[in-house]
Amino acid sequence: MTVTENEARPASGAAPEPVAHGGVRLTGVTKVFGRGAGATTALQDVDLDVRPGEFVTIVGASGCGKSTLLSLVAGLEQVTTGTLEVGGRVALMFQEATLLPWLTAAQNVALALKLRGVARAERTPQAHALLERVRLGAYADKRPHELSGGMRQRVALARVLAQDASVVCMDEPLGALDAMTRDHMHDEIERVAGEAGLTVLFVTHNVREAVRLGDRAVLMGSSPGRVVHTEHIDLPRPRRMEDPEVARRAGSLTAALREDVARHVG
């Protein structure tokens, strides 16, 4: 993958030791789209150090560069200046499950295995085992249109596991789901990521979701996109969206977010 280019690339002076396996480190990362007068700065001078196995949620209003940040980490875009180090393979999960409609659930997972170079004979049993891990073993032979939105995202989650990545970027993966399904998916993502020891970068515009899931919530401000606040969330797990403490922490984050929006709109 493209990301390997960035793997363990030495940061300019600041961080002497290479990033650990599963870690992600951005040092002074700036991303500019376009050139000359039409250029827009999507991200400015972003520093972020994610340790292996950490669950980092990234919140911010639209246009704050959240998705750009993920694209950089996933290797879909290159940084303009600064350094980005990623310890290992990166998988990406989108808002839409993007399952291929001509394949069954198991075949969708098996395709990721194939493209990773897993031998033919091992693909089918492995794909079924991965679907078991997201509790969809019974639906292996169903096609995407026969599954609910939540089930489709679980297949996408199994496909992420199939990529054998150490870092997973999730770009509002639950944005299109109803509240009940979303709550259930929170548990699933938390459990699966925990079991696999995955590092997760989870983008959302829902502050409460960020508090519910994250070990750390990174608040991003817009124009240009940058980190305005980082909140360590030391609440015990399992958490629920409706926990009073989750609501309280979300409230203080929302206040910080509102302040940033007001500064730009007002």
């Binding site: 989108f94 001509w102 249109h145």
Partner: protein, 300 residues
């Protein structure tokens, strides 16, 4: 007349009876066993799809018979349906009839196979390389609108009155539709699929094989279907113009029937040509429906 109308009359009421039988038999609460209800539902569906067709054929034959009875044209020019049916019954016992069908189908398949190969390669090239699209993209659509019979004078000059001339025109008739099918299919592949391919680490070959081509398949099959229709038209036009001695084909039989003022045989061959065309279309559309159903797309 009344005998002809009976099947059409029983059609709708027959379907109604089947539908009532399926719905009222076990009552609304106790469901039918899976296999049983599946079979009766399938039968109801088949019948629901069949009786309008049967009705249309019956109506057409009835009108035909009425025109014949009106004496608008003498019977040796416009024969009655029954005469044509009898002629067809005689024809199927002649080996030449089957030879003619064999020759025509073989030509169609050979020409169509070449058209698939050429259309597919050209289509992929156009969708893949911008200069190729700029150069021949609109030409393909232009060729598609050109009646293929226009090519025959040139084909006969180039190849003579022989098989190659026919194959050449069949290919020219079918290939543009096939190319256009694959071009529009590839153009409309959702960007999310190609992005997914990149994220999963697919190289350009794997990207085409596992993401682009399967996503473009429904449009490609539609192009094949249309290509086949054009191939079939071009072929029959060609067989009327390019008659090769000692090689009976549907077109040459049609031409001879006209030469000998044999109207019943002429119409019998036309029926055969229509039925063969419809059979091919059934194959394509059933494939296309199966594919759409598997992908959860609307059928019909």
């Amino acid at each position: 007349m009344s005998a002809d109308e009976r099947p059409a009359g029983t059609g709708p009421s027959g379907a109604l009876a089947t539908a009532i039988g399926a719905a009222s038999g076990p009552g609304p609460i106790a469901p039918l066993t899976g296999a049983e209800s599946g079979r009766s539902r399938a039968l109801t569906q088949v019948w629901a799809g069949t009786w309008p067709k049967v009705g249309a054929v019956v109506a057409f034959v009835a009108i035909w018979q009425a025109v014949v009875l009106s004496g608008w044209r003498p019977e040796f020019v416009l024969p009655a349906p029954l005469t044509v049916a009898q002629t067809l019954g005689d024809l199927v016992r002649e080996p030449e009839f089957w030879q003619a069908i064999g020759t025509t189908l073989r030509r169609a398949l050979v020409g169509f196979a070449f058209a698939i190969a050429i259309g597919t390669v050209v289509g992929i090239a156009v969708s893949r390389f911008r200069p190729v699209r700029a150069a021949i993209g609109s030409l393909i659509t232009g060729l598609q609108t050109m009646p293929s019979i226009v090519w025959f004078p040139l084909a006969i000059l180039l190849f003579g009155l022989n098989e190659q001339a026919i194959t050449f025109v069949v290919i020219l008739g079918a290939a543009p539709s096939i190319a256009n099918g694959i071009i529009s299919g590839i153009d409309h592949v959702p960007p999310a699929f190609t992005r997914l391919g990149t994220v999963l680490g697919a190289g350009s070959v794997d990207l085409y094989r596992h993401f682009v081509i399967p996503a473009a398949l429904p449009s490609y099959v539609a192009g094949l279907n249309q290509g086949w229709a054009f191939a079939w038209r071009s072929l029959l036009a060609g067989e009327l113009l390019v008659i090769i001695e000692g090689k009976p084909s549907l077109g040459s039989r049609l031409s001879f029937a006209q030469d000998f003022n044999n109207a019943p045989e002429l119409i019998a061959y036309m029926v055969v040509i229509l039925v063969l065309g419809m059979l091919a279309d059934t194959v394509f559309s059933s494939q296309s429906r199966r594919m759409r159903r598997r992908r959860g797309l609307a059928v019909d």
